[in-house]
Symmetry: C3
Subunit: 345 residues, 3 copies
């Protein structure tokens, strides 16, 4: 915990713009899960199914919706307990940012402009003609190529690689092992040999995007690969050349988006999903884990399976799938009985 | 664009060994996609379906096959427009290579031999007894282990790891985050404990191979893991110990090849495909995305699905799969009608 | 080979606590696979199916179970030939460890405690208040964050990233490109925007764990992500926040375990398997490659498929799946014949 002393429950309620119920004078000194909570802790609950655990928790207070109001606990009632929980975590644990400056063991190229109050750690490497915004943090082992731009307040963890001519927005978080701007996978095959198509386009990562560890984002052949504002991408995801991912979308670990495919705004892509190239996914589409998306998807769909089909159809087909051996038996049985009838007739 | 002035269309036609149709005197100053092209640009078209877009393009000239000859455009006709396009991109954008030498902040071990005209960037690390060929480029954060050999003209992007005793061919391109020569995944289990099998073999990456970002290639237990000449591998692919990949094959992102499996020449492996270990895939095999390959595959097959089956069988089974709920209803209906008939009989 | 001279077969038999059969005086000078073996080599065989190859091998001696005793070869009989093979590999190839000390080009933070006989290579970076055990090897390009602890005899290959407040046990092997302690993938969505949940928990990697190249292990939101003693994880696997993996389990390449899911002891997880979040897998569970695990799994199960079902059911359903087109024809045939009968009746 960063904060050494606690905070009164009534003051936390104010902070969360929530409704206090119970003893506002108690001191909250920590935050934890329902099961692990001890006296002094605040916890949160987001679903009725956790009611039994909530009854047994040692937490001194609970963030919840009003659904839980019949329980005899100290509460802060809010509409979105999970969101309130994230705010409290920030309150308790977020450290004040103290710029470290540019470490003398960092390597910075020619004509590169470094903003105010940055922290550039030893053995980070920045190329020529790059622009690094204010309060940017660049850890050790990071490589930033020539002409690349990093927006204000972005945070780049150790051993990230950002190649040349890439644009990273503001408040972007890039986890370790990420590669941005590697060449797109493009070859012109002639007489059985694969000839490399120069990949001379760029990558744009817009504001407030977060990319997980070991994610790869290829640069475009021509034009740019884009991940738009507010989208969050989990570990080990592949974003191919010329892909466009919309705003405020979620892509879970190990999914892969093939070349030139476009994903809309507010989509949720499950883990290990794959997309073929050159298709267009509308806004607000949800795609179940391990699906294989082979064609365009209209907005506001929930799809699943490989190849992916509407969720309802998948559930129906899946239910029958497990009964296939039984169905087969019933067909055999029908055939026997019918043959007997035919003999009689 | 690297070339500051343009090139006449007739000169481009000569360069591509293509047939000029239209005004050969116009100056081509750029290259772009059909939609984005502006005056002065040349574009290309590889499929009849783009004819409507071609009619509307602002490009000053088009690379195409003769199929398009009835359109009123300036053309260069070639047999393989995509290949011609790659040549023009190279013409316009490929920079002349200027060796940077060995940066004083690079770390080079004992008895390591460095070729002519190399570029070894700051904070690259090369071990002892290694051999680096002529005109090799090694970016920052690259680690090259003891006794490893890198062939002439190879290009190693930042933060690549190549362990000891590995052999990399000529003109190989290795993208950031690649790991070559990590230990194969081998354990002898005894009384429930997994005992590590030392992985003392090597890896050989032959000439003209390109591996994508964050690809992993394990070293062999004994002998060697091999990726043969001209094969291209996309991001986040896993190549296990003792695997052999043939020549001129393509492996799309996030596929995984298990231990000792052999893939033939001229194969195309889709994204997220998995292979069990110790199987053999013949030459010219195509495998659809997300397939699971569980047994040997004869040459010249197209397979799909998990477990993978011939493409035709898969299409047929898949077509029926979606009609499973309907089939089930028809069986129920048959049973009712048959029962009725049986009662009457 | 590290050992320059050979070892007599009878002495190898003693080393392996095996039973010698044949000429114990012959000198064994190498070890290799059945096919590649030449005179002087010892090889091993673990399955009856390799009997024909064994008859043709040039190896001077063979490690095998007594099943093979009717063959006219020099043998060392053991119960677990693969395990014995691993011991011989260690005997021949394992080099004595010689500590290199802390290279002056490594960067070590304040108040960090370094154990005895370590090897810390140039351009490794270790933060403040870290603790590095005895005989630990840390290669170039490794980043170790503040307050992180590395146990004795652990081996960290180049370009690994271990973030702050992580605990690594003894004899742990971490391959290149691994990221441990990256933020878990957690957001509270409010009015369509995804708000980051601070990930303030930790990661614990227990003794004798080995993680493959480019594996990612996220830190917990609260509490810790744990991989328990003796578990081995292959390349490119994703372990999400708050996951617990039991002891002595095996996770094959490119599998992904979602947030808060628990995997038991002695499990074997196939390649490219995915798990949904918040489920519990019992001990001794085997899961086939590419499976999608969507709910809790009882101990001692073998499951397969996406969604994963018991292996037997999967085999049965799969067998029918391939006959779907035929089943469909039989239904159509039944319908025709029944209609005819109904007309008559």
């Amino acid at each position: 915990m960063t904060k050494t002393t606690g905070i009164k429950l009534k003051d936390l309620a104010k902070l969360l713009v929530g409704e206090l119920s119970g003893d506002g004078e108690i001191l909250i000194t920590g935050i934890s899960g329902i099961r692990e909570a001890k006296e002094g802790d605040i916890t949160f609950v987001s679903h009725q199914k956790y009611k039994p655990e909530l009854e047994k928790t040692n937490a001194s207070a609970v963030i919840a919706t009003k659904e839980f109001k019949d329980l005899n606990k100290n509460f802060i009632f809010v509409d979105n307990p999970y969101f309130a929980f994230s705010k409290i975590l920030k309150y308790f644990y977020e450290k004040e940012y103290k710029p470290k400056g540019v470490d003398p063991k960092a390597v910075v190229g020619n004509n590169t402009v470094i903003g105010k109050d940055v922290s550039i750690y030893p053995l980070a490497v920045i190329g020529d003609n790059a622009r690094i915004g204010d309060r940017v943090v660049i850890y050790s082992g990071v490589y930033i190529g020539d002409n690349t731009v990093i927006g204000d307040d972005s945070l780049i963890y150790p051993n990230v690689t950002i190649r040349e001519n890439v644009v990273i927005g503001k408040r972007v978080i890039l986890h370790s092992g990420i590669v941005i701007g590697s060449d797109g996978f493009g070859y012109a095959t002639d007489k059985g040999r694969h000839n490399k198509i120069p990949q001379i386009g760029s990558v744009v990562i817009e504001d407030d995007v977060e990319l997980g560890a070991n994610v790869t984002v290829d640069r475009a052949t021509l034009g740019k690969t884009v991940i738009k504002r507010g989208t969050k991408v989990d570990n080990l995801v592949q974003i191919a050349h010329n892909v466009v991912i919309g705003e405020d979308s979620i892509i879970v670990a190990q999914a892969g988006v093939s070349g030139s495919t476009e994903v809309g705004n507010h989509c949720v892509i499950g883990g290990q999903v794959g997309f073929v190239d050159h298709i267009k996914i509308g806004d607000n589409v949800m795609i179940g884990a391990q699906s294989g998306v082979m064609s365009d998807v209209e907005p506001n769909q929930v799809i699943l399976g490989s190849p992916a089909i509407p969720h309802k159809d998948w559930l129906r087909a899946q239910a029958v799938y497990q009964k296939l051996p039984e169905m087969r038996k019933r067909i055999v049985d029908l055939e026997k009985r019918l043959a007997e009838l035919e003999k009689k007739a």
